[in-house]
């Protein structure tokens, strides 16, 4: 399911910088609304996919309910803005905090009970469901009607005149998430997460506080998801329980990472580019609802069956032998 965290050759700085340069230049080369939107969605999924990847890929704690942290972020920032009059930019840290708190709760409760593997995946699903039902039923979130954020395009309002404003913001977030993943590969925290992923008992025997590290990583992941939720709310200006707490988002976060390559730095980006492409292409060429996800579901099955490390294996095979020293 995951890559050789340290055994594979690290991504050279040149590649990081080239990709960043390409991304920065992209909206100028393709300034149409359609293409910029494609870019935004690809980077958005790369960002929340990376959020999932950090706990699901690097630390091996596969979750089916990450949407809980995402939705909580989306609602937190929207409620702050619409019900309490905060400036929308406060929504980002607010959403991060909300996501972190919910993730912390889920982590403490689940990991202390010793849940792992499939049971952990299922309980996170249930937590997501609980939040969906609650947000569907209480007034402050607008219940089933959701929340509409009035369009007032200005930077101060966390809405941009030009769509490219959103693009550069999500690029910043996505780039930061890549940097975070890189840091994980080289740090003690990341090594401990890899150890926990591979073998918890051995990790304990070497002095790693497994419970504490798992909680930390899920909190980090939750904070990132929360921010993704805030961005989503500001970009689409409408959220409701099904959109931001529905299972679909959890699945998408999981898919981009697993298909691209869980536990790798660029896996989520590869998966996100693929998802956004398939989504846009099917939407443009056919009117068939659900086709893109059919392709995605099929891809997931094929990848798990034949390329369990994800598409990134295709890039690796010609690249290097595993296990180079840095």
């Amino acid at each position: 399911m995951s890559d050789h965290l340290h055994a594979a050759r690290p991504v050279p700085w040149g590649l990081h910088l080239s990709l960043l340069a390409l991304a920065v230049v992209f909206p100028f080369v393709f300034p149409s609304n359609f293409m910029v939107n494609f870019g935004v969605m690809a980077l958005f999924y790369a960002f929340i996919g990376q959020a999932w990847n950090i706990s699901g890929g690097f630390a091996g704690q596969m979750s089916f309910g990450h949407v809980a942290f995402f939705g909580v972020g989306a609602y937190a920032s929207s409620v702050m803005q619409m019900r309490f009059g905060f400036s929308p930019w406060w929504g980002l840290p607010g959403a991060a905090l909300a996501g972190a708190l919910v993730a912390g709760f889920v982590a403490v409760v689940s990991f202390r009970a010793g849940l792992k593997g499939s049971y952990f995946a299922l309980i996170t699903l249930a937590f997501g469901e609980v939040l969906r039902i609650i947000s569907n039923s209480v007034d402050i979130t607008g219940g089933g009607l959701g929340m509409l954020i009035p369009m007032k395009r200005s930077v101060a309002n966390f809405q941009f005149e030009e769509r490219s404003g959103f693009y550069f913001l999500i690029l910043l977030l996505a780039a930061a998430s890549v940097a975070l993943a890189e840091w994980l590969r080289r740090s003690r925290f990341g090594a401990r997460l890899a150890a926990i992923r591979e073998n918890e008992d051995a990790a304990k025997a070497l002095g790693i506080d497994v419970l504490s590290e798992k909680i930390k990583v899920l909190v980090l992941s939750g904070a990132m998801c929360g921010m993704g939720g805030c961005f989503f709310a500001q970009y689409f200006l409408y959220i409701d329980p099904t959109i931001v707490f529905g299972v679909d988002k959890s699945v998408e976060m999981l898919l981009v990472s697993m298909i691209g390559g869980a536990g790798t730095v660029y896996g989520p980006l590869i998966g996100a580019l693929l998802l956004a492409s398939i989504s846009d292409i099917t939407r443009v060429m056919t009117q068939i609802q659900g086709l893109s996800l059919v392709i995605y579901g099929g891809l997931l099955v094929v990848i798990i069956a034949y390329l369990p490390n994800g598409l990134i294996d295709l890039f690796r095979r010609r690249g290097g032998q595993p296990g180079g020293k840095r």
């Binding site: 609980v130 039902i133 089933g144 999981l254 609802q289 995605y296 997931l300």
Partner: protein, 289 residues
């Protein structure tokens, strides 16, 4: 609160719970024997329900009569699915199989979305509106029939597992795969049969649910969580647990809706699921992991 309202809710809960039991029986069989958490259980039920829908609307076959068609058809589908897909990966990592069944459920749900759009469909039969008086409440006849048939089928499944040679083989493989292989049982075939049986229960459940429920491509989500909750509550691999679990979950849903309202009422099932996993993961009757 009026006793008659409570009783009515209880009766309705039990009736629906009986069908949940049937759905869960299949899931617990699959888990008990193959040790697979079949995430596609809900979507497969959805597929079967569409089957029943079309059998009625196109071929005019009464849903209860469809049992004769759907049960064997779903068995064959299950057998084929195992041989063609699941079987290859059932010995791999636990999580891989979960992901494959997740992928399968995504596939099924979205293929259904492509063909049937997002609308929900219901069916009506001649006796849909016939009401039977049961204590303080009026119950639609189909609901009663469905409950009765569900219970009979659960018993039949139980009998099959306990008394027939196939059932014995299934139990042997479930308990001790290597030993079963050593005494000459074709373990792979047992797996395929068990998976087929698991899906056959879905075929039956579909026939029983269509007259009293609705079908839409996304209904799989709802049923998956319900089925998991029943199985986890009852204990993975335990039939008695599935029966009791189904009834309890049905009651919870009913009372949840009564006390908390339509929207918030659904929370009961998820909460049960969470609490059981945290406090007593082996469920009521399951083996301690």
């Amino acid at each position: 609160m009026d006793l008659s309202i409570l009783t009515a809710a209880a009766i309705n809960g039990l009736l629906l719970g009986g069908i949940y039991t049937l759905v869960a029986c299949g899931l617990t069989l699959i888990y008990g024997v193959l040790h697979i958490i079949n995430f596609a259980h809900g979507s497969l039920l959805m597929v079967a329900m569409f089957g029943v829908y079309y059998l009625l609307t196109v071929f005019k076959i009464d849903p209860y009569v469809s049992l004769l068609i759907m049960v064997p058809a779903m068995f064959v589908l299950g057998y084929a699915l195992y041989k063609g897909l699941i079987g290859r990966f059932s010995s791999g990592k636990d999580e891989n199989i979960l992901l494959i069944t997740l992928g399968l459920s995504i596939l099924l749900e979205n293929i259904a979305l492509m063909f049937f759009k997002g609308d929900s469909r219901t069916i009506t039969v001649a006796y849909s509106d016939t009401m039977i008086e049961l204590g303080p409440t009026l119950v639609p006849l189909p609901k009663l029939i469905s409950f009765a048939v569900a219970m009979v089928l659960c018993l039949a499944l139980g009998w099959l597992i306990q008394r027939t040679d196939t059932g014995r083989a299934i139990r042997a493989v479930a308990k001790e795969r290597m030993g079963a292989r050593l005494v000459g049982l074709d373990v792979d075939k047992v797996y395929a049969i068990s998976f087929g049986l698991g899906l056959a229960t879905l075929g039956a459940a579909a026939c029983l649910l269509m007259p009293i429920f609705y079908v839409s491509p996304t209904i799989g989500h709802v049923f998956v969580l319900v089925a998991f909750t029943v199985v986890v509550l009852g204990g993975m691999g335990s039939f008695l647990g599935a029966v009791l679990g189904g009834l309890i979950v049905g009651l919870t849903e009913s009372f949840g809706g009564l006390f908390l309202g339509e929207s918030l009422g659904q929370i009961g099932i998820s909460l049960i699921f969470i609490l059981i996993l945290l406090l007593r993961p082996s469920g009521l009757f399951g083996a301690k992991a």
